[in-house]
């Protein structure tokens, strides 16, 4: 089984998000970048599925050379090899298009992504890839198993879950529950240095969206504290002032 895992390089979850250049650029000063947490789950599941020499796991990233430490981390965790499409990831469409081009030339049985990247949260690449490759896509899965050429996935729905059976190949966005992220061991870290990382150039494609500027959520006013022995006052405030109950 040949599995492709699409990975993103994102700011660490503890990052305080700020912007520069008149709020048009994300301020990367002092920010540590990590392998997107959901992609770690996808990668862990891919490694489990190919355990014992039962296939290979390729990771692909669309990014500039600065993302290579994150790609090496994925190799250290256990990916077989890696591909970097040497371009700034303009938007989800651009990323999905580049990966689709690669997959058309190098077919895979299964393509996994995280449910979303924690920077833009679009949850779009897996579904766009599915459409570009004309194969099924499932977004936000909690469980993933393979029996022969069929996969069984559990998909999250509002207030419940849905279990689906789908023939391979498919693309799927992985969330918590699919696997536990793996921590690289010393042998993995050593071998990651020599595992193949192929850099390819992007293909030209028209893009359809531009981020113009960013803003942070409007600050809330000073918190109104209600004494612990007068809880009824909170109910009154929520009803009369905030009008939410």
């Amino acid at each position: 089984m040949k599995i492709l895992v699409c990975i993103s390089n994102v700011p660490d979850t503890t990052t305080k998000i700020t912007f520069t250049d008149n709020n048009t650029q994300f301020n990367t000063a002092g920010v540590q970048f990590i392998l997107n947490p959901y992609d770690e789950i996808a990668l862990a599941r891919a490694i489990e599925l190919t355990d014992g020499g039962n296939g290979s796991v390729t990771v692909i990233n669309v990014g500039e050379i600065s993302t290579e430490p994150t790609i090496r981390k994925a190799l250290a965790i256990g990916a077989t090899d890696a591909v970097r499409v040497n371009a700034k990831p303009h938007d989800a469409w651009f990323v999905a298009f580049q990966i689709a081009q690669y997959v058309k030339a190098n077919p895979f049985d299964l393509i996994l992504t995280g449910r979303e990247s924690i920077d833009y949260n679009g949850s779009k690449v897996a579904a766009m890839l599915g459409e570009l490759l004309d194969i099924p896509s499932v977004s936000i899965i909690k469980k993933f198993d393979i029996n022969g050429g069929q996969v069984t996935v559990e998909r999250e729905i509002e207030g419940g879950k849905e279990v689906l059976e789908i023939p391979l190949p498919i693309t799927a966005g992985c969330a918590e529950g699919v696997a536990e992220p793996k921590i690289p061991n010393m042998r993995g870290i050593m071998s990651a240095r020599t595992k193949p990382l192929t850099v390819i150039e992007p293909v030209e494609v028209k893009t359809f969206s531009e981020v113009l500027s960013y803003e942070t959520p409007a600050p809330r006013g000073q918190v109104k504290l209600v004494p612990a022995d007068d809880v009824a006052k909170l109910v009154t405030l929520l009803h009369e002032e905030a009008r939410v109950i």
């Binding site: 979850t13 503890t14 305080k16 959901y38 989800a92 469409w93 924690i118 920077d119 833009y120 949260n121 679009g122 949850s123 779009k124 897996a126 579904a127 766009m128 599915g130 459409e131 570009l132 099924p136 896509s137 499932v138 977004s139 936000i140 909690k142 998909r155 999250e156 729905i157 509002e158 207030g159 419940g160 279990v163 689906l164 059976e165 789908i166 918590e176 359809f208 969206s209 531009e210 981020v211 500027s213 960013y214 803003e215 942070t216 959520p217 006013g221 918190v223 109104k224 504290l225 209600v226 004494p227 612990a228 809880v231 009824a232 909170l234 109910v235 929520l238 905030a242 939410v244 109950i245």
Partner: protein, 324 residues
């Protein structure tokens, strides 16, 4: 060119978030001096389809093919894209629900459209098509311009109010051509807990953290949620410890919520958790530590032991409900 809105249903019934997207799409149609067409897929009763007119849809396309009774991502995307083409719609609006997030990107590719997900407000007035969307898992917003002719946008729940109009819509059947390759997914099981409020589109959310000390103490949290008709949520350490299911985990690596009221009990307010709740309209924090960072982003707070405050709050709400 009309606006097309996809009206999602759960077991044949429209949800509040569906009426929100219809109201929102109506407003976009008004901005563009055009009409609004809704498309419904699945077994929705005629009376419910007629309701869509009240929220501003002039025309309702009803797809009631047996093969499409339940959600199949590829097939639904094909049907919606086909409807957009037939109607000549250049803007397609969906809910940013679990299903909507699977559909919007596929429809975008089919229509060569830019896709804006997680949108929180109406497009800006003026020549360019600019919308505001959530970014960095709720820590920020981005203004995104869609430069394509066709556009697909998905709206987050509770971001736009349901607006009733005195309009009425006409319902017509829409027969979509289905490709066999769109129908290869087979649904084996759907489990929906009908007695619980669903978290992503809840009006009120009651959330518990490590301060509750253990899963055995969730009874009072559940009672409070029941009283308020609220959905249950929790912080990451709580779901990591297995006290509560992952589906209740709110935060940067869990679900982002945008309720009218978020009540946090025994949650200190780590930056990752705050990211997931920043779109809430009103935040109430109950924590015994007056220095908990959550108080800095709260609207109302009670510094006190959850085991004393929550039962009192339950009693106070019961009293308020009895007198209302």
């Amino acid at each position: 060119m009309p606006v097309l809105v996809y009206t999602e249903n759960a077991e044949g019934k429209f949800k509040k978030s569906t009426f929100e997207v219809v109201s929102y799409a109506r407003a976009i149609a008004d901005q563009n001096n055009t009409t609004l067409t809704a498309i419904s897929i699945g077994n929705v009763a005629k009376d419910d389809l007629n309701l869509l007119g009240k929220y501003g849809a002039e025309k309702v396309l009803n797809v009631s093919n047996d093969k499409l009774k339940n959600f199949v991502n590829q097939a639904y995307a094909s049907v919606i894209a086909e409807a957009a083409k037939k109607e000549g719609a250049d803007i397609v609006v969906l809910s940013n629900s679990f299903s909507g997030r699977g559909l919007a990107p596929r429809i975008g590719v089919k229509l060569e459209a830019g896709v804006a997900d997680g949108v929180v407000s109406l497009p800006e007035a003026g020549g360019k098509f600019i919308v505001k969307k959530t970014a960095f898992s709720g820590k920020a917003f981005a203004k995104v311009e869609l430069t394509s002719v066709n556009k697909v946008i998905s709206l987050i729940p509770n971001a736009y109010k349901v607006v009733e109009t005195n309009g009425a819509g006409t319902v017509e059947d829409f027969n979509a051509g289905l490709k066999q390759s769109d129908l290869t997914s087979i649904i084996k099981e759907i489990v929906r807990s009908t007695d619980k409020v669903s978290l992503p589109d809840a009006d009120i959310v009651v959330s518990g953290g490590r301060g509750l000390k253990g899963p055995e103490n969730w009874g009072m949290v559940e009672e409070l949620a029941d009283l308020l008709g609220a959905a249950l949520a929790c912080s990451k350490p709580v779901s990591d410890a297995g006290w509560r299911p992952h589906s209740e985990h709110v935060g940067q690596t869990g679900i982002a919520v945008s309720p009218n009221l978020y009540i946090a009990i025994g949650i200190s307010g780590a930056i990752q958790h705050l990211a997931g709740v920043s779109s809430s309209k009103v935040i109430v924090v109950i924590n015994k530590d007056a220095e908990a960072p959550f108080f800095k982003v709260a609207d109302y707070g009670i510094v006190g032991d959850a085991f004393e405050v929550v039962p009192k709050l339950i009693a106070a709400i019961k009293e308020y409900k009895a007198s209302a």
